[in-house]
Amino acid sequence: MTTHPTPTDPVPPPSTPPIPSAPAPSWQDEATGPTRSERLSALAQQHGALVTLVVAVFAAWLSFDTFLTTDNLSNMAVSSAFLAVVALGMTFVIVTGGIDLSVGSLFALGGVLAAWGSRYGTAVALLLPLAACALIGLVNGLLIARSRLAPFIVTLAAMLGARGILLAVTDEGSRTYLVDKDSFFAKLGQGEALGVGVPVWITLALFVAGAVTLRRSRFGQYVYAVGGNEDAAALMGAPVARTKIAVYTLSGLCAGLAGALNAAWLVSGVTILGSGMELEAISAVVIGGTLLTGGFGFISGSLVGVLLLKVIQNVINQIGSLDSAYQQVVSGGFLAVVVMAQTWLGRRRRVL
């Protein structure tokens, strides 16, 4: 992940010579630039999740000698991969100022369809869930962009609808389709390269592609523009509706792909997956520094957010005796602390 974290700039400044004589307008900021502490807090806001992650990892390493083992790390990596892919799509949606609650259901549906399709070969196992989930994402996008319905409610309906389709496909949830353990499709979930699971590699590749797309493609600029000021974006000629349709389709696609990979990993189309996953993905994206109001955010942050959630869960398990009720109190409290810290750090920069 070599992307730069602010939407203001990914490339070192071009060495523009200072303009000598021209009457420099007074908004030049030599004198009034941000102070040191402000710059620090700006950095902390952008990299807050990363800093927290490093601190958490460090603390866990000191406290538990079983934390920083290859086993534990590779487990965490593989099991984060699926949520990460979902969060990737969610990041695009949130940067446009939207939200996608359907991802959990689509994740489950994707898995079931992949497992069902795997008997017809890897191509079907992959394409079927991708097509179905992208289609539902597309419908979300159309309703949101063309009919101007609120994303929250549209994707909430899609969450119910996709779950309904899943139940219909699985005989009301009573059938679990299995994937042949020796198929190529199963390898996508099970295999390893250089000691790291294939899903992890796929996820990393997707994140690099996603980051490049968001930061360096024209489409990415539209995504930021739509989230930053939709009316202005439209007046500047940005294809607002198409951008929105694209991000919801992308989000559906990511959720379906994550579900398919997960099915390959579990070698079965488990029907009870994905409930609450939308909230996890949203939390990860927000913890990663993306503004839920849109217009600001970055892909790498979402990855950090996912890892942070994972590490917390792992630490709770490392303690090994924490009551399930306390686990929730700890998770909720932690989420609150992270967003408070972030908001507080970010507030000093918000001019309004």
Partner: protein, 501 residues
């Protein structure tokens, strides 16, 4: 080049355009003028694909066209600066400038180095030097306007449309803009230009179309039309009545008391203000002069508690006011008419009635229950007194024209019976008729003993309206002009000399 035939556009309850014919020719600067709400912005939006007309047709280059999105129009070579600064605040200056036509390198990825170079250059041509990688929101309104201008000018356009581009520009930037417009004209580009400032029109425009109540009342060469006739056409009144009204509606100086009603001492806000002190006496209009970004708006906001001050104090009638709290300032009798009417002034989804009553609600309620009767009375009075044009008091404020929105805001504050009124660009984007009304109102209020702080980029307005002018530069006070010293020359000199320092 670009023309409209019998174009009509209706909004719920309003016929914004009524069979409008309009033609912009290559190589001419075409003024589009009219009162607030006459339909200028609507016409522009119809011409540029934002709205589809209900009836009539557009032709471009002699062939009928139909733009369904702004993008269509842009592709066809029409580039537009819309009335409100319409950019994306969280994105960098360069990204705003090039949105949708970023220079691309290998793999179709954006070539940022080139984009930044080009952006820096494009802005430098307009006399603006900024770090183009910074978020746009860190720039002032004027600088943002220049970015929008650079955006429009840097496209290979054949028609350039500008809807009130100068409303937040300083005289110097206006001249830069005119330079750009002249180059465009020489290149054979059609420019459509909307402004309420008549001087500008005469300086730069060739032809004019006057809109009134959605209808075209005149089209022709601007040189054939003198100012008075132009105004008369706009307002639909006789020349004689217009003649009497003069340039601004200020009457001159006011009788002021000696004890200041407001004293702001050493206000300091990091990055914005340092040690700004201002006193306002009852019945006095104090002008605040300075260039863009000199901190005028910040001063007003700091006084009104909308910008937390790091140090300094504000007293009203001898009583110290807690800084950094809008409610405290309002309770003390300070009212602020903010500069950014759209974002910080109106509550667009609420009705005219609710907007007017908003700040005064606690006073218009008993035991937390709203007294509808008293609100109706109040709203009635103000709609009549300020001649607010709305289809009913229940119309959403967001649907009103800019000038009427401004009047609603004025009504909101007058309903508070303030001791001090801080007016930040009160006549920006307001047509002559309304402007005169607002100016007369300011006068009247001062006469009634109100202390007024007037911020205006319109030098004429500032000079004629103020009894005293405080000049700011880079967030600090640099001069104060009193009584006969208040002249345009002195003001410009104050700004200029300090700039050398």
């Amino acid at each position: 080049m670009l023309s409209a035939k019998s174009v009509s556009k209706t909004f719920p309850g309003v016929r914004a355009l009524d069979e409008v014919d309009f033609t912009a020719r290559a190589g001419e600067v075409h003024a589009l003028i009219g009162e607030n709400g006459a339909g200028k912005s609507t016409l522009i939006k119809v011409l540029t694909g934002v709205y589809t007309p209900d009836a009539g047709e557009l032709t471009y280059d002699g062939a009928p066209v139909r733009f369904t999105t702004p993008l269509d129009a842009q592709h066809a070579g029409i580039s537009t600066i819309y009335q409100e600064v319409n950019l994306v605040p969280l994105m960098s200056v360069a990204r705003n400038l090039f949105l949708g036509r970023e220079p691309r390198g290998r793999l179709g990825l954006i070539d940022f180095a080139r984009m930044h170079r080009d952006a820096t250059e494009a802005l430098r041509d307009l006399g603006v030097t900024v770090d183009v990688r910074r978020p746009l929101r860190e720039l002032g309104v004027g600088a943002q306007q220049m970015v929008a201008l650079a955006r429009a000018a840097s496209v290979d356009a054949r028609v350039v449309v500008m809807d009130e581009p100068t409303s937040s520009l300083e005289p110097r930037e206006v001249q830069t803009l005119f330079g750009v417009i002249r180059t465009l004209r020489e290149r054979g580009i059609a420019v459509i230009y909307v402004s309420h400032r008549l001087d500008e029109l005469y300086e730069i425009c060739d032809r004019v179309t006057v809109l009134r109540d959605g209808k075209v009342v005149h089209t022709g060469a601007l040189a054939d039309l003198d100012r008075l006739r132009l105004v008369a056409l706009m307002l639909g009144r006789e020349i004689e009545t217009v003649q009497k009204e003069g340039l601004t509606s200020f009457t001159g100086t006011h009788d002021t008391e000696t004890e200041p009603v407001l004293t702001a001492t050493n206000l300091t806000v990091r990055h914005h203000l340092h040690d700004v002190s201002i006193t306002i006496r009852p019945g006095e209009v104090v002008g605040l002069g300075g260039l863009l970004g000199s901190g005028r708006s910040e001063t007003a906001k700091a006084i009104a508690g909308a910008l937390p001050a790091d140090s300094g104090s504000v007293t009203v009638a001898g009583e110290r006011v807690r800084t950094g709290s809008t409610p405290a300032a309002i309770r003390a009798g300070i009212s602020l008419l903010p500069e950014d009417r759209k974002a910080e002034g109106i509550v667009p989804g609420l009705s005219v009635r609710e907007n007017i009553a908003l700040a005064a609600l606690p006073r218009l309620s008993r035991f937390g229950l709203v007294d509808e009767k008293r609100i109706d009375d109040l709203v009635d009075t103000f709609i009549r007194r300020l001649r607010i044009k709305a289809s009913s008091p229940h119309q959403k404020v967001g649907e009103l024209s800019g000038g009427n929105q401004q009047k609603v805001l004025l009504a909101r504050w007058l309903a508070m019976h303030p001791k001090v009124l801080l007016l930040d660009e009160p006549t920006r984007g307001i047509d002559i008729g309304a402007k005169a009304e607002v100016q007369a109102l300011i006068d009247e209020l001062a006469e009634q003993g109100l202390g007024v702080l007037l911020i205006s980029s319109d030098t004429e307005e500032l000079i004629e309206g103020s009894d005293r002018v405080v000049v700011l530069k880079d967030g600090g006070t640099v001069a104060e002009l009193t009584g006969p010293e208040v002249t345009e020359q002195n003001l410009l000199r104050a700004i200029a000399t300090t700039e050398l320092a």
